[in-house]
């Protein structure tokens, strides 16, 4: 018998604009000791489907319209709130995307782990502490005897997610719902967390529902895959079949969106547009303080017309390097020249003039657009500032930019919050292109986006790069993405360049241990080739 048997589940939200069918008649089962992956883009209803089982959606406006969800003989949808509370956290546990927001920053990890043990199991404090330490050890926290007394902010993102997993495991749940548990993490950390989840699932023989927007992530661990779109299940089947023989066009589209293949690079080498020599960028220099050395003695050439991929994990200094080139953070020493012009000492008007020649695209399109400015204002600002258009012609300039980045002209009066993430990123790209720059730093421009949208934005950037004759520094933690888009790849580790070369060289013959690690972390290599 299945651990969880969901039949004909229907959930809708009653909003001012009428009824929205978030989950429209879906059925699936979860087996003990198996991982079931639910895949779909934002708004496909994948999270709502799982949250509604536990009564975790706001009602109203949400309403469960029908169906059943039998878990150990009980229909979860028929249980009262107090009966559900007993099941939540004890028999069914959850892991969320952002571990920082789920942990209380003012309590030690140990305290937060021990609380439910003492509460639910009635253990004594010393016993509970021992149990908590064992759990931390099991999820791979180093030296749990001392780290148990640390606060959440003292852990890295990956370690925090391990703590969350430990918390989820406290009451030995039978079913674990993981909602995008690795989306906020670096690729290398993601690989570790995925492996941990697979190991724990085998050891404890629990059922796992793994919610994700990315098919590649679950390629190595899922037993069964359910693909959702617009509230409906469009395809389901075991992993092998989905990856080798997908039937539904949407599933195929998802598979095609996984970045694969290496960009073919022409052999001709142009001269350098940007030359960086012995660059150091340090933060927090004080009299008695050791500065944080974000960039250590980096020398690098970026050639005209190339897309240079810059790869590294969080904290490797890759964003700082991009911002140093654009003079957005103060550099400590070294030199940066742009087309033969020394940027290092530049100030005032001459710097303003240079700024029009180099632009930036940011990671989070929700934060990089001024919420009080419409698309028109956002795009008109750089056009007017650098006198590319006059007041009379600016409207045409704005519309032309919108055409270029694939935004409908009818959206010109809308504000950022009215757009999806992908559309926002298009606006941000339009803004960066407005000054007709020669050089663009793209700082993780697709890592906040769904996989399908990622593919569209990457293609757009490639096209526009050609059209505008751009040189680009593409910063990312994801080698698969970089390999797809970049002509040359530089690997940054702890503020230093450890390896560089073409995508082909790097992938076929990585020289450094760290590069090898990065390569092995790309999810779904085995199945996707």
């Amino acid at each position: 018998m299945s651990l969880l048997n969901v039949q004909n589940l229907k959930v809708s939200f009653h909003t001012r604009n009428g009824e929205v069918k978030a989950v429209d008649d879906i059925s699936f089962t979860v087996e003990t000791g198996k991982i079931t992956a639910i895949i779909g883009e934002s708004g496909s209803g994948k999270s709502v489907a799982c949250y509604s089982l536990l009564g975790l959606i706001p009602m109203p406006p949400g309403k469960i319209e029908g169906g059943s969800a039998v878990f150990e003989g009980n229909d979860l949808l028929q249980l009262s709130e107090s009966e559900l509370r007993h099941i939540r956290g004890r028999d069914i546990a959850m892991i969320f995307q952002d571990p920082m927001t789920c942990l209380n920053p003012y309590m030690t990890i140990g305290h937060q782990l021990m609380e439910p043990i003492v509460y639910h199991k009635g253990m004594a404090k010393t016993e509970a502490r021992q149990h908590a330490i064992e759990l931390l050890e099991e999820v791979g926290i180093r030296d749990p005897h001392s780290t148990i007394d640390s606060y959440p902010h003292e852990f890295s993102g990956g370690m925090r997610q391990r703590v969350m997993i430990a918390m989820a495991l406290i009451n030995e749940p039978k079913l674990l719902i993981a909602d995008e548990p690795t989306t906020a993490l670096d690729v290398t950390i993601q690989a570790q967390i995925l492996k941990l989840m697979a190991d724990l699932q085998k050891k404890h023989s629990i059922g796992i529902i793994f919610i994700s927007h990315d098919l590649a992530v679950v390629a190595d661990i899922a037993d069964q895959i359910i693909v959702m779109k617009k509230g409906k299940v469009v395809e389901h089947g075991d992993r092998q079949r989905i990856f080798k023989n997908a039937q539904h066009p949407y599933t195929r589209a998802l598979l095609a969106a996984i970045p694969a293949g290496t960009k073919v690079v022409s052999e001709t080498q142009s001269e350098a547009l940007i030359s960086i020599r012995n660059l150091n960028t340090w933060f927090g220099q004080g009299k008695n303080k050791e500065p944080v050395k974000a960039i250590k003695d980096v020398s690098l050439d970026i050639r005209k017309g190339e897309i240079l991929g810059l790869v590294g994990e969080s904290g490797s200094g890759k964003s700082t390097l991009g911002r140093s080139i654009l003079r957005l953070v103060p550099i400590t020493s070294g030199s940066i020249s742009f087309d033969g012009i020394d940027l290092t000492e530049m100030e005032g008007q001459s710097l303003k003039k240079m700024r029009s020649r180099m632009q930036m695209i940011f990671q989070d399109p929700y934060a990089s657009l001024n919420p009080r400015m419409s698309v028109y204002d956002t795009l008109a600002e750089p056009l007017l500032l650098h006198k590319i258009e006059t007041k009379k012609t600016v409207e045409q300039g704005v519309l032309k930019l919108m055409d270029d980045v694939g935004l409908a002209r009818g959206f010109v009066r809308k504000y950022p919050h009215e757009f999806s993430g992908g559309q926002r990123q298009r606006i941000a790209i339009g803004r960066a292109l407005a000054t007709r720059p020669e050089f663009i730093v793209a700082d993780e421009p697709v890592s906040a986006l769904d996989v399908t949208i990622q593919a569209q934005i990457l293609d757009l950037m490639l096209d526009l790069g050609k059209e505008y004759g751009l040189t680009m520094l593409f910063v990312s933690h994801d080698l698969a993405v970089v390999k797809h888009i970049a002509d040359r790849i530089v690997v940054l580790y702890k503020g230093e360049i450890v390896e560089q070369g073409s995508g082909k060289e790097l992938f076929e013959n990585p020289q450094q241990e760290y590069t090898r690690q990065l390569l092995q972390s790309i999810p779904g290599r085995a199945l996707l080739g």
């Binding site: 589209a253 996984i258 957005l328 029009s356 009818g410 504000y415 593919a455």
Partner: protein, 307 residues
């Protein structure tokens, strides 16, 4: 990697010529949008209408007031509302409606001008301190702390002694005190906002600090500022009444709402209308300000729009 057509909500809608034209007809300023949204808020419109009406009356008072404000009738004394004196008369037999109209001139002027002074200084100062940061910020905010610590009354009395009693000085003195809190609010807002990527984006576009503060920081900090402003105006009006009561502000026969209310309060038991009518005028103004403030805050927050 292939791009996918028709997946998700990222599909650009095909270009539409009609919407081009529609767009050309509409303006694109934040304020125009805000006005369109404000128009839908009935309470805010009511508040605006009352304030406009009161301001108009205040402007036209010398021509439309039924009596002169110095016109006494000691034989008459305090009388309740009647056909000749709609709102009654005070103990000197002066027409209360006339007094309220003249008093409104002073009260509204003090309220708006002093608040405008406070707003201008406070927002600029706070935004600058918050944006520049570092030692400049520390020095600027310490100055604010020092001014906070200065006893307000001594400051006013000093001003009055040195420069003599003068309405303009009163505006200035009150404005000088009220901007301090405004500066603090603005600074904390700007400090939070300048960490955002859109500010970094503006820097990388080549915008100067003034343009960044004006176009990117101030509009995003408007919510709390407007709310605080609508709280400041009534505060300032009451402060003026307090100063006048101490003999530092407006002196009879000139009058203001605050002064009328404080006299009315003394004779509340015998002549209640002397308290009720000026009180009503002040209360109505304050309500209107609050409604308008709330409406403005919502109207200026583009995220709250539901259309």
């Amino acid at each position: 990697m292939t791009s996918i057509e028709n997946t998700g909500n990222d599909n650009p809608v095909p270009n539409n010529k009609i919407s081009d034209i529609a767009m050309a007809e509409q303006g694109t300023s934040l304020w125009k949008d805000a006005w369109a949204r404000l128009k839908k808020n009935r309470m805010a419109l009511f508040g605006l209408a009352v304030l406009v009406l009161f301001s108009l009356i205040a402007l036209l008072t010398p021509w439309i007031a039924p009596y002169g404000y110095e016109q006494q009738n000691l034989d008459l004394g305090a009388t309740p509302p009647s056909a000749q004196h709609w709102l009654g008369t005070d103990i000197f037999g002066r027409d209360l409606m006339t007094l309220i109209m003249y008093g409104g001139r002073i009260s509204l002027a003090v309220g708006f001008v002093a608040t405008a002074v406070a707003l201008l200084i406070g927002v600029t100062y706070g935004a600058l301190a918050g944006y520049v940061g570092g030692r400049t910020d520390a020095a600027m905010m310490r100055l604010v702390d020092i001014l906070y610590a200065l006893p307000f009354m001594i400051f006013i009395i000093l001003l009055m002694v040195v420069f003599g009693r003068n309405l303009l000085l009163l505006f200035l003195a009150i404005g000088m005190v009220e901007w301090l809190t405004m500066a603090r609010i603005m600074r904390s807002q700007v400090q939070a906002l300048r960490q955002q990527e859109f500010v970094e984006a503006a820097v990388s576009l080549g915008l100067g600090p003034v343009a960044i503060i004006r176009k990117h920081l101030v509009p995003n900090a408007l919510g709390p500022i407007i709310v605080y402003t609508t709280l400041t105006i009534p505060g300032v009006m009451l402060l003026e009444a307090f100063l006048s009561f101490l003999g530092l502000g407006i002196q009879p026969p000139q009058t203001s709402w605050g002064l009328l209310i404080s006299y009315g309060a003394e004779t509340m038991e015998e002549f209640p209308w002397l308290l009720i009518f000026p009180g009503l005028a002040l209360a109505l103004t304050l309500f209107s300000l609050n409604f308008l403030g709330d409406g403005l805050r919502d109207a200026l927050d583009v995220r709250s729009s539901k259309d």
